[in-house]
């Protein structure tokens, strides 16, 4: 049996996207930033919240939002960060969220602490946090796969393995 669904339309649009290794290398060398506005480029240090979010900061924020339960990789993280920074709906809220968490004097360590800190009180901040989690769980960014085998949708499930990887014969026939 092979299957179809009309609800699948439109998923095969694949816009061009920077090579992920080039992106990582650029971030590491400081030659590529995630700031997107001309104003930011002309006054990069005018205020803390206009400072570009670094990959380290984004990874730290991601770990906090996932309660440090998973080993998150820099490579897809760089793609997620670039995507958020390039999106007007998320770029400014992301900088603010980093400012209120990773750069805060008392850094929250868990998602619950982030909530308690008030960092997600605005819908813009909450939606940005939600989008960060969507990216890590789905492993998809800008209509391409950044990470499949370690996408959290699979990584967070203790009983299966990502399809195409070995579970073992015949471990499906009993409860895990």
């Amino acid at each position: 049996m092979a299957l179809h669904g009309s609800a699948l339309r439109g998923l095969d649009d694949r816009p061009s996207h920077p090579n992920r290794r080039e992106l990582l290398a650029g971030l590491a060398a400081g030659t590529l930033t995630v700031a997107t506005s001309a104003a930011l480029a002309s006054a990069p240090a005018s205020a803390a919240t206009t400072r570009p979010v670094t990959l380290d900061e984004f990874m730290e924020l991601s770990r906090i939002l996932t309660d440090n339960e998973f080993s998150l990789e820099d490579e897809p993280g760089a793609l997620y960060l670039a995507s958020l920074a390039a999106d007007p709906a998320f770029s400014a809220p992301l900088r603010q969220l980093v400012q209120d968490t990773v750069r805060a004097d008392r850094e929250p360590r868990t998602f619950t602490e982030v909530i308690r800190s008030g960092a997600l009180r605005t819908d813009a901040a909450a939606r940005t946090a939600q989008q960060i989690l969507v990216l890590w769980y789905s492993g998809l960014v800008n209509d391409r796969t950044a990470d499949y085998l370690e996408a959290l949708a699979w990584e967070s499930l203790p009983f299966p393995k990502p399809p195409s990887t070995e579970l073992g014969f015949s471990k499906w026939d009993e409860a895990p």
Binding site: H4, E69, Y137, Y148, S164, P176
Partner: protein, 550 residues
């Protein structure tokens, strides 16, 4: 244009039907050329392409080349897109691969046999057609096909299809999920049976046993599930010549009406020919009739009946999904994508008025039809606003652990208005017409659709299932049938009971395009058995056929 090869038999298509015929013929000393429209597939590379695909649909690991484009489920229902020219009134929802090995690369692997009554629909139920052969005629070839494909099954379970031999391998263990459903199904008088499947449970034919990669569709990474490469590779080792990227566009006839070979087009647009004493069309139920209708005059070739390209059938799917009771997780996403089903509705008492069906129990949770959890996270409902951390992970885990999916395969009757014809006004990149399809699902099938969803609901209630959803439209099963149906009367059928063209005496057709009716069994084992039966008849006829032109 030149004749690039000459052989006893030229086979068009390298899927399971063509591969089986090729393998058998060359082992008997018959020279064979196999022409495949698409390219070869490298399994490891295809697995990597699958992992990178944004939508893990059946076609995701495989190429759609400019010279051999193929349909994709992503195009279904999107007007003006894709390989098919869909004329409606409903979109035809099934797809296939155009690569060496054909669609067995992405098939599920389920191999139930047809029921004896499936061969006698007109006689027993007053609908459809009778087959020109009986279950008993085909039974010995079912046994052979099960050995060739490597079928694992439980011989002690009565699937309704009498057996003269056991299964080649012990059954694939049914899933924990199957067992939970079986317990509830028993309370309403339904039995869950393990599904026979072409999937190794032990080393068989030099192939590894299944290790639960849970990825039968779209690709088994280790080849534990049967695919036609087993027989293509063996046929080539034994002397068959395989020409890939060779898109057959015409059957060539002599003045006496016999076939002298086929003409194919290469990716660069040039044409060449292969001549043979016999032609075997094995290009599936879309491309085979398309080739016939592109050949000869306006009526095509082998089309005295006018029914080439007509009677297109599928097993439209009734889909339901829900969550098991909170205190009864089922832990899907483990092992083969389906290991059991409910078979009793295949013998529905209402057959004749409405479609019978078989219930396939999915081990893939709610991943149908896209194959991974993308939608849950990109289209909701995960995560909620201001939800994250361990709580999100636990809610997701709890959801998946309870996911159930039923897919019932409905029986569609042959209907001459369901057609595939060459779209001479809409050609592909090398100038070959794309398939134009008209398709509708009749009240007979939709009657079964209602019954199937009612049964799904009874199962859900028996299980105390939550969040129950019954999808209101059908899905394609990938079971493309009809279009060159066989029968005893040349006025109403295209081929005889051995797949031999009524009109072109040295041409045979293999594959599910021959099916006069489609029953409710996944078609691959039946088409394989028919192909093995055809091979015997073809080989017996070869000495009396004209020599291949040089």
């Amino acid at each position: 244009m030149s004749v690039v090869a000459s052989a006893d038999v030229v086979i068009v298509g390298s899927g399971v039907a063509g591969a089986l015929v090729a393998d058998r013929l060359v082992r008997k000393g018959v020279s064979v050329v196999i022409l495949e429209a698409g390219p070869p597939v490298d399994r490891d590379r295809a697995v990597e392409i699958f992992r990178q695909a944004t939508a893990k649909v059946p076609e995701s690991p495989y190429p759609s080349t400019a010279h051999a484009p193929r349909p994709s489920v992503l195009d279904i229902g999107v007007p003006g897109t894709g390989y098919f020219v869909q004329e409606g009134p409903e979109a035809f929802g099934s797809t296939y691969e155009r690569v060496v090995g054909g669609t067995t690369w992405h098939w599920l692997g389920s191999t139930p046999r047809l029921l004896p009554s499936d061969f006698r629909m007109k006689t027993e139920f007053g609908v459809g057609r009778d087959w020109p052969l009986t279950y008993n005629d085909l039974e010995p070839f079912y046994v052979q096909a099960e050995k060739e494909l490597g079928v694992a099954g439980d011989g002690d379970e009565d699937q309704g299809s009498p057996r003269s031999a056991g299964f080649p391998m012990p059954a694939v263990p049914i899933s924990f999920l199957d067992k939970v459903i079986a317990k509830s199904a028993a309370t309403i008088g339904l039995r869950v049976l393990s599904t026979p499947q072409a999937r190794n449970t032990e080393t068989f034919n030099d192939r590894h046993h299944c290790v639960g990669n849970s990825n039968c569709i779209p690709i088994c990474p280790i080849g534990a599930k049967y695919d036609a490469m087993i027989h293509i590779d063996r046929a080539v080792e034994n002397g068959a010549r395989l020409i890939s990227n060779a898109v057959v566009r015409q059957v060539l006839l002599r003045a006496d009406g016999t076939a002298r070979g086929v003409r194919f087009r290469r990716p660069n647009g040039s044409d060449d020919e292969v001549t043979a004493r016999a032609v075997v069309l094995a290009a599936n139920a879309i491309e085979t009739p398309k080739i016939l209708l592109m050949s000869g005059g306006p009526q095509g070739v082998a089309n005295r009946s006018g029914q080439v390209g007509q009677n297109l059938m599928d097993h439209p799917i009734a889909l339901s999904y829900g969550l098991s009771a909170q205190d009864e997780p089922v832990y899907p996403q483990r092992g083969p994508l389906s290991t059991a089903g409910i078979e009793s509705p295949r013998e529905s008492a209402a057959r004749g008025q409405k479609s019978a069906f078989r219930v396939e129990i999915g081990n893939d949770g709610w991943r149908f039809p896209i194959g991974d959890p993308t939608f849950e996270f990109t289209q909701g409902p995960f995560p909620r606003l201001r939800e994250g951390g361990a709580a999100l992970a636990r809610r997701w885990e709890d959801h998946v652990a309870h996911e159930i999916r039923f897919a019932s395969l409905l029986e569609q009757l042959p209907d001459r208005t369901n057609t595939i014809t060459p779209a001479f006004d809409k050609v592909d990149d090398i100038g070959i017409p794309r398939p134009r399809i008209t398709f509708s699902i009749d009240p007979y099938t939709m009657g079964g659709f209602v019954d199937a969803q009612a049964l799904h609901e009874r199962l859900f209630v028996a299980m105390r299932a939550r969040e129950r959803t019954h999808v209101t439209f059908t899905f394609g099963a990938g079971h493309i049938m009809g279009t060159t149906i066989m029968g005893t009367d040349p006025a109403t059928s295209v081929a005889d009971g051995f797949g031999r063209s009524h009109d072109v005496r040295n041409m045979w057709i293999v594959g599910s395009s021959l099916f006069p009716t489609c029953g409710t069994a996944n078609p691959t084992l039946t088409l394989a058995a028919l192909a093995l039966r055809t091979e015997v008849a073809l080989r017996a006829a070869l000495p009396g056929l004209p020599a291949a032109a040089s």
